[in-house]
């Protein structure tokens, strides 16, 4: 792998940037792998990378039915933060944020992490109490958190409307200064390149259509590129988690829903932080190109269509204009949808399934982009040692049997 640095840029400038090597190989699948990862989104690629780097496993394939990073990785609004309420969540999301903070160096790829601060607005007395409680819980867990009253919110984000007669008045907000955004594609590409350089086979246009078992344990997968053997299979397929688990006869507590986002035409810099409101389903930041990046809510019904309804967008834009009257003349350029896998407690599942050798990393729902490095790191540990790491042990599938749910609806909301 050519190391990217200012010197390689200078050297390639001399030859008109015509001689950059390919960033990764495109191998044909081998017959047999030690580990197969199904799903080449950020989480699958991160899993492969940490398996190779931290655990020395090199004989790995990542199988992706389309092109890698074309799922939710490419469709999300890229908000990164770790201010979740419960100890279990704070620990895993904070681990992830710490990995983010060193990621560009670690994988030698600029993931453009921009820690510009994330506000979570409170619009009612209930929201205020929940927010203050969460700030306190975060601090006890070593996660940076501040409570801002309405005036301080206005100071931090001057274009926000804090008038008392707004339909959803701003009563305050939590602020995580270390939160922000990162560049989604770079995360997929950077992990792919880093994993590839450690020998991982990343195979695109290879859809898994069946899971082979013998005597209650997995022995391989059926794909559009033939049968591939492996005794260890990790499902990391986001919106399609249930479909894949069903191939092995495993039922999951997951429903798949469309979640939409949209971007405006590029405008001059107007908002230099991230603003989220779980209550009115608004979240907005501005990209480096100047587009306002906004997320909407999920459609109520189950779907695999990667598109959502217009009334959901209408609802989000109505609330958005209340908060930011200055956006009223901005034109929206594109909208799209992704399929998110939601769990009843708004927390993910990372661990074993009842089928031996079959592992699942799913249920990240509307908020898994921020978890990409942490999720891959924990899942790699689980696959390599066949035991969950203490960070992901609470997120087992059997918490739905024991009843030890991790209810993050308040911190996850529809947003993240």
């Amino acid at each position: 792998m050519t190391k990217y640095s200012i010197f390689t840029i200078a050297r390639n400038a001399l030859t008109g940037h015509k001689n950059w090597p390919r960033q990764w190989r495109s191998p044909e699948p081998a017959k047999d792998y030690e580990v197969i990862i199904v799903g080449g989104g950020g989480h699958g690629l991160a899993t492969a990378y940490y398996l190779a780097k931290e655990h020395g496993v090199r004989n790995i394939a990542v199988l992706e039915k389309g092109w890698f990073g074309g799922g939710n990785t490419a469709r999300n609004t890229t908000i990164v933060r770790s201010n979740y309420l419960w100890d279990e969540s704070a620990a895993i999301y904070e681990k992830s944020l710490q990995l983010w903070e060193g990621l560009s160096q670690d994988i030698n790829y600029n993931v453009m992490l921009s820690q510009r601060g994330v506000l979570n607005l409170a619009h009612s007395l209930g929201d205020v109490r929940e927010g203050v409680r969460r700030v306190n819980a975060n601090r006890l867990n070593g996660v940076d958190a501040e409570w801002l009253d309405a005036e301080a919110v206005k100071e931090f984000c001057p274009i926000i409307n804090i008038s008392k007669d707004a339909r959803h008045p701003v009563l305050g907000a939590t602020l995580q200064r270390r939160g922000g955004v990162a560049r989604h594609d770079s995360v997929a590409w950077g992990f792919a390149r880093a994993a590839d350089s450690l020998g991982v086979d990343i195979i695109q246009n290879c859809e898994v259509t069946g899971i082979h078992q013998e005597n209650g344990r997995v022995v391989g997968v059926e794909t559009t590129k033939g049968t591939i053997k492996s005794k260890k299979i990790g499902l990391v397929a986001a919106g399609h988690s249930s479909v894949l688990a069903q191939m092995a006869g495993v039922r999951l507590p997951i429903d798949s829903h469309p979640l939409q986002a949209l971007v405006s035409e590029p405008i001059k810099p107007v908002i230099d932080c991230v603003v989220m409101s779980g209550a009115v389903h608004v979240y907005v930041s501005q990209s480096d190109k100047g587009e306002l990046v906004m997320g909407a809510g999920i459609d109520s019904y189950n779907s695999y269509a990667q598109r959502g309804s217009f009334h959901v967008i209408e609802h989000q834009l109505g609330a958005c204009l209340e908060l930011f009257p200055i956006f009223s003349r901005v034109r929206m350029m594109r909208s799209w949808g992704g399929i998110v896998d939601t769990c009843p407690d708004a927390s993910p599942i990372i661990g074993k399934t009842p089928v031996e050798g079959l592992y699942v990393n799913a249920g990240w729902g509307t908020g898994g982009f921020k978890a990409t490095p942490g999720s891959g790191w924990c899942f790699a540990h689980t696959l390599a040692t066949e035991q969950p790491h203490p960070l992901n042990a609470p997120f087992s599938l059997d918490r739905f049997t024991t009843g030890a749910l991790i209810d993050e609806h308040g911190a996850a909301g529809v947003a993240h």
């Binding site: 249930s242 069903q246 429903d255 269509a305 309804s309 217009f310 049997t401 009843g403």
Partner: protein, 97 residues
Amino acid sequence: MLHISCPWCGPRAETEFRYGGEAHIARPQKPDELDDQQWADFLFMRTNTKGAFAERWYHSHGCRQWFNVIRNTVSHQILAVYKTDEKRPDFPIKGGV
């Protein structure tokens, strides 16, 4: 937006309805005899079908009745609407329709 035909009121916009998730999840006959695994299956485990999916809808801004719909979760096409005490019409479960 979906256009849903309520069995009582006829075709209406989706925004008049509320979604009730997967249909035909029968309440356990003898709840006191269930073990934790069976409770987990009943409460949390879902089919989440890709293709023809039986689901419940509630006409919350209309007649306030519940009913069932079979809808293709890939194309969103509604294949059947039926009352809760009627049998599920046959559609292949898998692979879109």
